[in-house]
Amino acid sequence: MTQERAPILEALTRMKANRLVPFDVPGHKRGRGNRELVDFLGQQCLDVDVNSMKPLDNLCHPVSVIKDAEKLAAEAFGAAHSFLMIGGTTSAVQAMVLSTCKPGDKIILPRNVHRSAINALILCGATPVYVNPQVDERLGISLGMKVEEVIAAIKNNPDAKAVLVNNPTYYGICSDIATITKVAHEHGMKVLADEAHGTHFYFSKKLPPSAMSVGADMAAVSMHKSGGSLTQSSLLLTGKDINAGYVHQIINLTQSTSGSYLLMVSLDISRRNLALRGEEIFDKVIDLVEYARDEINYLGGWYAYGKELADGGAVYDFDVTKLSIFTRSVGLAGVEVYDILRDEYDIQLEFGDIANVLAYVSVGDRVKDIERLVSALADIKRIYRKDPSRLMKVEYIDPIVDAAPKEAFYADKVSLPIDETVGKTAAEFLMCYPPGIPILAPGERITKEILDYVHYAKRKGCQITGPEDMTIKRLQVMA
């Protein structure tokens, strides 16, 4: 089978031609039972919203077309095996952690992981060993892990089972995943890569190396981000030393038994597109982003950072398809710029944090949209510019881990007004969303610094999520 094939697409097309009479779920019966849904989504979409059946295979136990599609995806990404995931990259990250760690096991990871990784620790009861991601003081963003710090963590925790690496971070920062993989393997540890923001690494020579290309053991790849598939679809890749059958069992613990064919076929079609045209597509994206970066930096004030951040250490490499823009030098918090762009200029960005915004650029963008973004930034600078000293500088807050996430999450808890929690141990998450990196994870000590940051972020308009109390006035701590 070649990459020109798309087995799930082909099977669905055959099924449509067969005009089956559906006496199975879903109950909308090709939309006939729900005209409003058809009017909104379109007949073509409802025609293929079907359940698994013999000609379409079964995601829980693939033996035919899904198996073929997974084989083609594995080949396209240079993996030994791949799994189509329908629960988002969150489910892929959790499957990686659950496949390699058991209760009480240690896992080495940077603190700026996505919440899904720490959620996985709550599920499996593993204990995190955090490596301090260095912080760029000027930009206020967490970077990657320095190799020497990972080596120190490995030496200090020889019983750890795995090392998790962001490849890259939301902002495009890469650690030296090749060396980390080599060292981890020498110490018998598995390497897991969160590639939620790195699908394109597999299809361009101009970008940092992908996890599979350097021999990492597992990778969670967000096909729905730069890969172009539907939201919530994702891929889990495994290397040659991973028991795919066991991973499959782990996935089936939590995965829906009614996997959506819309999601699966979108993965199949997108994989084919990337395999056949990926290099050309990402060349175009790289050119677009480089152009935008040059134009934004020409405006002055804003700083759209790029490869110059790379220092061989905490920023081992930079993903040039990321258009991250530092806003604090214009006197505006990233989240303020994010709101102004949407409310005043009808431009929606991916996210704004305390000092940066991220514009997500993909093959779907046009030069004239880039011109709009750049011109809007020029106009915002003219109209809204403020004194940068009014803004808080962000520093990395080293977490004090009092308890493993699972222990804290399931512990007896008390709910306190948030300002009375200093010195206690958090029993729930606290994070800005996006990017969804926890400020506090269950089991971590609450400090005044952390609360100051949370109040500041809230005041600037960040959406704070995590606690049971959605107004974020109270926080649960370990009793």
Partner: protein, 283 residues
Amino acid sequence: MELWFSEQHTPNVRLSLKVDKQLFSETTEFQRIDIFDSTEFGRLLVLDGRIMVTERDEFIYHEMITHVPMCVNPEVKRVLLVGGGDGGSARELLKYDTIEKIDLVEPDKTLVRACQKFIPQTAACLDNPRIDIFFADALKFIRRKSNEYDLIIVEYIDPFGSGEGLFTKEFYGNCFNALREGGIMVNQHENPFYSLDAAAMQRAHKRLASSFPTVRVYQIHIPTFPAGQWLFGFASKKFHPTNDVDFNRWKSLGLQTKYYNTKIHTGAFALPSYVIKSLQAAE
């Protein structure tokens, strides 16, 4: 044989003109360009199926988009024309000896060349040494200008197509920045009659009003445009379009015009009640 060109004004309304022959047709990276010879309206310039210029009625549009701001501020020396590759507005502006230089930004070179070849009535003036033509993206061009122009005229159409970037706050804001003190901008605002066009008009008005201290709307009547009625947005840093205007000074220039005169200048700012209501709703 009968050959008719039809423009779809709405899904349910069309305007048809009898044409003699097609002189030019090309699809560029920006748009489809067609030029016809018509029986009643002379040469027609059609972009993406929309009539932009006819030899017979273009004077109405081009006179009213230029002489209104020029009468308000006769001291204008530097002008930027955005769009307007047909040359009609440039022709009117060249009547003023006081204008030193006109920059014309038009992304589509093919359009300018085709107009020069087939519609000399408007485009013959484009080789005048006072005109500099820039084949560039207008949004990018304007972004790099600050305090340079006394008058900016925006002739882009189609806020949902090729011109979408030019009906935005970022464009108007960057125009404000490119204008000197006392600068004026005139923007074509579509027609207020058909609902989709009226929504575009409201949007343009809202965005313009958020970028300039003084914004007024005026109208013209032109047979080949949808609804026969067309609006312009007049935005300025300082001048009001009708109060304190020295109309005698304009008259003393002795310029020849077919539609524009100082009475219609004032009258054009008087709007039908439904248009006023629609503009107020947008503000």
